[in-house]
């Protein structure tokens, strides 16, 4: 993480080492605790929001990806993708108090505390399981679209929005009846939704096309599409909705977007392959899970007005340089293959992760 100075639009507060492959992150400001689902450790790392130190590790199901906090019951819910379960953790005692069977590959989760409902996006089944946040009973299973995942609730409209990664759309679910009442088309491969009830808007991070869709929730349509850095997968609002944050998995940074102008005001370098983010409104502190570097980056958004210089994508320093040599095992044979094998050829190296 880069060192900050007073001329920068953010203050870097450091990074917290957590479990492997951290994804979904949520804060419990009432307990001053943060929780992050560590997909490759099958656990949740719990940290102190102020001292930025780890205070616990809670084993859950296999590959927890989504994570939300319910401030009323003081419970954390994780969607454990490879166990087809939602795990429920008491945020105070850090004990698992229940596991709720859901459908295939639940990769996303949402909380509607006012309605006492938890929503789980079953990516493999294209459905949403609606769970009673108190009794942990499954109340309904609602049909969404292909690769239904992440969810967000909007109490002002009594609606819940399910992000359909494989369908480039959002399903709108009625908060009372659990029925789908409409759909909104967004860009390709949407990953995450953030809601601003004050402005009656929602923001969707469209990962593969590197954009953010701005949705007018009254008209139920996209009213603007904002470019960000590469492969945004996380999305949140901050500073009472005046700032949007996009976690760019492809570039290892966070775009800070001015809501009013739709312009990217700053880019904050974080760890490797950032995924989800959560904001402490009281202190304008942003917590980012880095699936590549097994850490949570923490920074304070200190921007209050438009900065003198806006971020630009610089030419990558590797361009024009000899490609650094590699010697890595082949996935199939296990034998080491080196860059020498491709010498004298035009070729492309695609770097990817399965998550």
């Amino acid at each position: 993480m880069s060192q900050s100075n007073s001329s920068e639009p953010y203050l870097s507060l450091g990074a917290i080492p957590v479990g492997l492959g951290p994804e979904g992150i949520a804060l419990a400001p009432d307990l001053r605790r943060g929780f992050v689902a560590c997909a490759r450790s099958n656990s949740v790392t719990v940290f102190d929001m102020d001292s930025l130190t780890v205070i616990g590790e809670v084993p859950v199901g296999k590959e927890p990806i989504g994570l939300v906090y319910d401030h009323i019951s003081k419970r954390v819910f994780t969607s454990d993708a490879r166990s087809d379960l939602v795990s429920v953790i008491d945020a105070t005692t850090l004990e698992v108090i229940g596991q709720v069977p859901v459908q295939s590959y639940p990769a996303g989760i949402g909380i509607y505390s006012e309605k006492r409902k938890v929503y789980c996006g079953n990516t493999g089944a294209n459905t949403v399981s609606v769970i009673d946040a108190d009794t942990l009973e499954v109340l309904a299973v609602t049909e969404a679209k292909r690769a239904a995942g992440s969810l967000g609730a909007n109490h002002a409209r009594n609606e819940v929005y399910c992000v359909n990664f494989g369908d480039a759309s959002i399903s709108i679910i009625d908060g009372t009846t659990n029925a789908v009442t409409g759909e909104i088309a967004v860009d390709y491969a949407p990953c995450k939704i953030a809601i601003d009830p004050t402005r009656d808007r929602a923001y969707v991070a469209n990962s593969l096309v590197s954009t953010v869709s701005v949705i007018d929730l009254n008209r139920r349509e996209v009213i603007a599409t904002l470019p960000v850095e590469r492969a945004p997968v996380g999305m949140a609002t901050g500073k009472q909705g005046t700032h949007l944050y996009a976690a760019n998995r492809g570039t290892g940074n966070i775009s800070i977007i001015d809501q009013a102008s739709g312009k990217e005001w700053a880019r904050v370098p974080v760890g490797e392959a950032p995924g989800d983010l959560a904001v402490d409104e009281e202190t304008s502190t942003v917590f980012v899970s880095n699936a590549g570097s097994n850490s949570v980056s923490v920074f304070r958004d200190t921007l209050t007005t438009k900065p003198a210089t806006l971020p630009k994508t610089a030419r990558h320093p590797l361009i024009g340089q000899p490609v650094p040599e590699f010697a890595l095992p082949d996935m199939v044979t296990g034998k080491i293959r080196t860059s020498a094998e491709w010498q004298g050829k035009n070729y492309i190296i695609n770097m990817f992760a399965s998550w």
Partner: protein, 79 residues
């Protein structure tokens, strides 16, 4: 292709991913991202275009369309 940052069971995870997406090209494993760090790359997915002389011509691109457009611009063959 180089699979990076799986942290656990990289071989199985990469094979599973390749079977879902029907990928048949050579796949190497960089389980903890050591080669990524040497390249100064901090995210995925990302592509690196290398020419016959071993020089990096482009870095970035997320979709196949972006890769195609970059190669066209560089007058390099696609596919």
């Amino acid at each position: 292709m180089i699979n990076v940052w799986e942290h656990v069971n990289a071989e199985d995870e990469a094979k599973h991913f390749c079977s879902i997406h029907k990928l048949v090209c050579p796949v190497l494993l960089d389980e903890e991202g050591e080669y990524m760090r040497r390249l100064g790359l901090r995210g995925v997915p990302i592509n690196i275009v290398v020419n016959k002389k071993g020089i990096v011509k482009a870095v970035g691109m997320t979709t196949p369309d972006e890769v195609r457009a970059t190669l066209t611009k560089l007058l390099l063959p696609f596919g």
